[in-house]
């Protein structure tokens, strides 16, 4: 008899049990009033902060020290119009993204290896922690020596900051995998590869998102630090260049752009996460 004939001749399906309605999907409605309030409050907070800054710069502290929002806005506008903003922001973001991606490509397998072999973990742990405790920023000159002032040194800088986060999060995620799901698979003689694909990897997805959230900021730092030390382009270069000419407004403008880029990238990650994790319990 073939696989497709589960039901015996004359067999009738089990009835739908009564009194067992499916639970309603708990999803917040699109126009959540709380959400609107939060967005409005955020804008109010930003406006207030900028206003206080402006007031301070006009009447309390010399803008030479603290910059001045109106002048920063003016500079920002110039950068946008002259297309310099994109010219500098694009390489910084691309290098950070490449470093982040590379961290995931390397960090996930290493984390999986640590989690799957107690032996490997115990042998390598002190070396791993040793590497982790090196201040990676101090390696920047070395990276420039090795990889030149081109994109590679920035990507490696970002990578060196983020990869540890990915390894540790992957490892922690693997330790938190529901044992019962693995037992369920093993009882049906599922292969290791199948268990990895169906149980392990999906289980660590929330941990990977956590890595990416932290990693976005770190990767930007890596990319910018690389540019501070050796480059002819990028937001890090712009800040360094402005500082060299004691152009405080230029420094602040660069920092504001970096901040906005960081916020935007984080929002992007959050949106992706909400979409992908929607169906989790």
């Amino acid at each position: 008899m073939s696989q497709s004939t589960l039901l015996a001749p004359g067999g009738r399906p089990l009835p739908q049990a009564a009194g067992e309605p499916p639970l309603k999907r708990a999803r917040p409605p699109a126009s959540d009033p709380a959400r609107q309030t939060i967005i409005i409050s955020r804008i109010a907070f930003a406006v207030l902060t900028v206003a206080l800054w402006e007031v301070a710069a006009r009447w309390l502290v010399d803008p030479f020290w603290i910059g001045q929002p109106s002048k920063i806005a003016e500079r920002l506008w110039k950068l946008i119009v002259s297309n310099d903003l994109l010219w500098h922001a694009v390489p910084t973001v691309l290098h950070a993204a490449a470093g982040l991606l590379l961290s995931l490509l390397v960090g996930i397998p290493v984390g999986l290896l640590f989690a799957s072999s107690k032996f490997v973990e115990r042998v390598l742990e002190p070396f791993f922690l040793g590497l982790y405790s090196i201040p990676r920023i101090a390696l920047a000159p070395l990276f420039i020596l090795w990889f030149g002032i081109g994109p590679m040194s920035k990507v490696v800088m970002a990578f060196s900051l983020v990869v540890f986060v990915v390894i540790m999060n992957t490892y922690e995620g693997m330790r938190g995998v529901d044992r019962e799901l693995i037992d369920m698979m093993k009882a049906m003689r599922a292969s290791r590869a199948y268990i990895l694909r169906k149980v392990m990897l999906p289980s660590i997805v929330p941990w990977l998102f956590a890595s990416v959230r932290v990693g976005v900021g770190l990767a930007l730092i890596g990319s910018v630090v690389g540019e501070l030390l050796g480059s002819n382009r990028g937001l890090g270069w712009y800040v360094e260049h402005a500082a060299g000419r004691i152009d405080v407004i230029g420094v602040f403008t660069g920092l504001v752009i970096l901040m906005v880029v960081g916020i935007l990238l984080n929002e992007l990650v959050k949106t992706a996460e909400t979409r992908l994790m929607r169906n989790r319990r």
């Binding site: 696989q3 497709s4 089990l14 049990a17 499916p22 529901d178 369920m184 049906m188 169906n279 989790r280």
Partner: protein
């Protein structure tokens, strides 16, 4: 894999002639210390038999199932499944857990497909058709694309049941599968399990702490003692088949079984 449906009468006949599906011989189990979890377990499951194990919590009932499925190894004694000592996980074992053990990131269809994957059924039209059948069979046709978190406890256990049926095992190990459900749902699921078993006649070892549930479903009930778990008593349940798990509870004989088993378990808890 081709004997998804066996004629009950043939299964019953061959069950008498053939060797037992599962044999445990003098099995002991510890948790890597002085504390024994199980001791002196001698137990056999005949082909097509519905066997329940009841006992106080922590008596090692669940451990017993893990030994049979190869998920754990005994400290002493032999575990034999279909004539072969257990090494690794034996083929054709369907394990159902108290918590449904559904993949939360997979739909009902995908969860059921896990059973088919493990049984080695390749992707294709036949596979989709089979999932449809299993969905219809478990009363979940409208919920194929739903995720587990949107389902009630009873429906989730139906999905788990669908997944096990998809794997088409020869021996079912069920670890308090309905233990977390409310009373009515539990009764209904018991009834459904009986009707499935009546059709396929595969051997089932059903672990529960609910004595009435055990008596209403089983051919035989084994009572275990507290830690270390030993077999204290065994009851052959001579109640008419096919059974209606609610109707059977009205028979005087049913209550005699339940009372005796209660007595066994109570004397156990007094002893401890």
């Amino acid at each position: 894999m081709n004997d998804v449906v066996s004629d009950p009468s043939i299964a019953a006949l061959s069950g008498q002639a053939a060797e037992p599906a599962v044999v445990l011989r003098n099995v002991a189990m510890d948790y890597g210390g002085a504390v024994l979890a199980l001791a002196d377990i001698d137990l056999a499951l005949a082909e097509g038999e519905f066997l329940s194990i009841v006992g106080p919590s922590g008596c090692g009932k669940s451990t017993l199932l893990k030994l049979i499925s190869g998920l754990a190894q005994p400290a002493a004694g032999q575990v034999i499944v279909r004539g072969r000592p257990v090494q690794g996980t034996p083929a054709g074992i369907g394990f159902m857990f108290q918590r449904d053990a559904l993949l939360p990131w997979a739909t009902v269809r995908e969860n059921i497909a896990v059973g088919l994957d493990c049984a080695g059924l390749p992707a294709g039209a036949e596979r989709e058709q089979r999932i449809d059948e299993l969905l219809a069979f478990t009363g979940l046709s409208q919920f194929g694309d739903a995720y587990p978190r949107t389902l009630s406890g009873g429906m989730r256990q139906r999905v788990a049941l669908g997944r096990i049926l998809a794997y088409a095992p020869d021996i079912y190990l069920m670890d308090e599968p309905f233990g977390a459900l409310d009373a009515q749902t539990k009764l209904l699921m018991g009834q459904e399990l009986l009707s499935i078993w009546g059709r396929f006649r595969k051997g089932i070892i059903f672990v529960t702490h609910d004595i009435e549930e055990a008596v209403s479903l089983s051919d035989r009930v084994v009572v275990m003692t507290g830690r270390p778990g030993r077999i204290k008593a065994e009851y052959r349940i001579d109640l008419p088949r096919p059974r209606d798990s609610r109707g059977v509870r009205k028979l005087p004989a049913f209550h005699q079984y339940v009372d005796s088993i209660w007595g066994d378990i109570m004397s156990e808890s007094v002893r401890n």
